[in-house]
């Protein structure tokens, strides 16, 4: 398979994730879309590392995975807190802060 195919797939994944972030209103789904974006980045890095024959892109993938895990910990805590306080997962529910 040509290397360009990997980049195309990851670009499509990234766009799907970004579209989901813009369109969906459920916090959990938003969260999944963000993960999708991060994983498309991982695919790009891994493919590019293979293309350039270097290891640094692959190393970056490990860091992204670790950081994504850390983000999940914090994010789920915030989301659970939202659910306990408001009983909803709708992103438009928190609306106290506006002008």
């Amino acid at each position: 398979m040509p290397i360009g195919a990997y980049f195309a797939v990851s670009a499509i994944l990234f766009c799907v994730g970004l579209t989901g972030v813009i369109l969906r209103r459920n916090v959990i789904v938003l969260f999944m879309c963000i993960e999708l974006m991060l994983n498309s980045v991982n695919l790009t890095f891994a493919a590019a590392a293979r293309m350039w024959g270097g290891a640094d892109g692959q190393v970056f993938v490990f860091f992204v995975i670790v950081v994504a895990a850390a983000e999940v910990v914090v994010g789920l805590a915030l989301i659970v807190n939202l659910f306990f306080r408001r009983g909803t997962l709708d992103i438009d529910a928190p609306n106290l802060l506006k002008w």
């Binding site: 980049f7 990851s10 990234f14 994730g17 970004l18 972030v21 916090v27 938003l30 969260f31 963000i34 974006m37 991060l38 498309s40 980045v41 790009t44 890095f45 590019a48 293309m51 350039w52 270097g54 290891a55 640094d56 892109g57 190393v59 970056f60 860091f63 992204v64 950081v67 850390a70 983000e71 914090v74 994010g75 805590a77 915030l78 989301i79 807190n81 939202l82 306080r85 408001r86 992103i91 928190p94 609306n95 106290l96 802060l97 506006k98 002008w99």
Partner: protein, 551 residues
Amino acid sequence: MILAQAPGSASGMLPTPDVAWSSFAPELVLVVAALLLLMFAITEGRQLLVAIPTGLLAGAAGVWLVTQGRVAPGAVAIALGAATVAIVVGVGERPPLVQAFTAGAAALGALVLSFWQYVAVMAPDGGTATASTLLGGSVAMDGISLFTRITVYLTTLLVIPIGYGYLQDRGVDRPEFEPLLLLSATGMALLGAAADLITLFIALEILSIALYILCGFARRDRRSQESGLKYFLTGSVASAILLYGMALLYVSTGTLDLGAIGTALGLVTTSERVAVLGLALVTAGIGFKIALVPFHLWTPDVYQGAPTNVTAFMAAATKAAGFAAVLRLYLLAFGRLEDLWVPIVAGLAAVTMIYGAVVALVQRDVKRILAFSSIAHAGYATIGVVANSDAGLSGTLWYLLTYAVTTLAAFGCVVAIERRRRGEVALVDLRGLGRTSPALAGILTLALLSLAGIPPTAGFAGKLVVFQAGIAAGFEWLVVIGVVSSVIAAFFYLRLMGMMFLEDPVEGTEVPVVSTGVSFGVAIAAALVIYLGVQPGVLLTLADNAAVLAR
């Protein structure tokens, strides 16, 4: 590279990397202090059990450092070890005070060590200071990183007393606050020093993840909760976009090192289109962190909802760290693409300055007004980036320092007004403040004058340097927009002052509670506002050197 077989591995020995610990001295202090504070929280009531061994270890390490000829860091280690024990013995029965003092001592130690680095590490034996890189070129030790450290640690040092008592009044005082603050500051310092994309990303996430929690720290308060969640969602989307931009840069150049990316972008083998797309995505992602229009949408909500001391920290320190990364990225890595990004970033700066000033006019919440003012100030600081010169670089660094002390003074006053109230300071709360508490109103006026850029305050000195750099680089139109924006902004700052001094207090408005901590932090910030405005010499020289050191 990293996993390569080293010569020593045959005998079962792993080669130990050569780490220049002196370059991480300030960060080490902060991380150790954060761990220590968490230990204090766990061993509630028996803090001496933790404090004495830690103090002894720090003292022993200090003595060892002194015998090794590193007198200054050794002295700092001994002082911090003694301070730890002294704090626990002295105020041990009041845990919040122990937390605040320990964190404050750590921030002070880090600040002292940063100055020591400037003198001793970068200019050993009294020679001229030189820039260097560490850890295989992934961390830079140069003017940008040093100046960012100073700004960030100064902010941390002032935020701790300002916040002390505030969280207790709101009933959200928990011992993990200070450790998170210190870790976030560590991330910011590292962001200022990041010389490759991995370090840049990791540093950004260290500071962001800690800040997500800090913004939602008052978790029973719906505004704070909303602030934390919004910051988290927008922040992680921005991180993902930034990451994809980095990935595309790697695809087109094959390297993660910022300097090497800069070199590779000039080569014909590099696919320029992918690099340009990567540049666009990186601009969007980093523009989010420094709140450039149109990536600013989170700023007002998050700043308004977060606990006010966290807002102050974010406004002052996050901006400084974000701009350090911006300077390094654009001047170092994207230097060859300047025809492309300079006009775009200049446009963003112009829109940011006007938008921040105009929208602030119609706000009613004081924290929200300051949030929009912070957006406008991001625009002014960007002029130095667009100038794409040494003068612009030092101008931006210097501007961020002046903005940090100014905004700390302003938010410190808001903290005092907000206490005993439920997290909201509307414009009407300022009415007659000049009569009920003249000192507070005076300091807030000073901070507002500085935000407006009126001499002899720090804000004026900051704007002057940045605008000069802009004119020198041929961006007269941008500077004109900056001046117009300042005039618009001055209008609503003046309106606030008028409310404080010319109108009568509203019946039943509570008098602000000014605690020792708030007056201490705000007084130092206000003194710095005047000092940097009247006598910019020392630190401005440092900023100028920073530019020379970065090249």
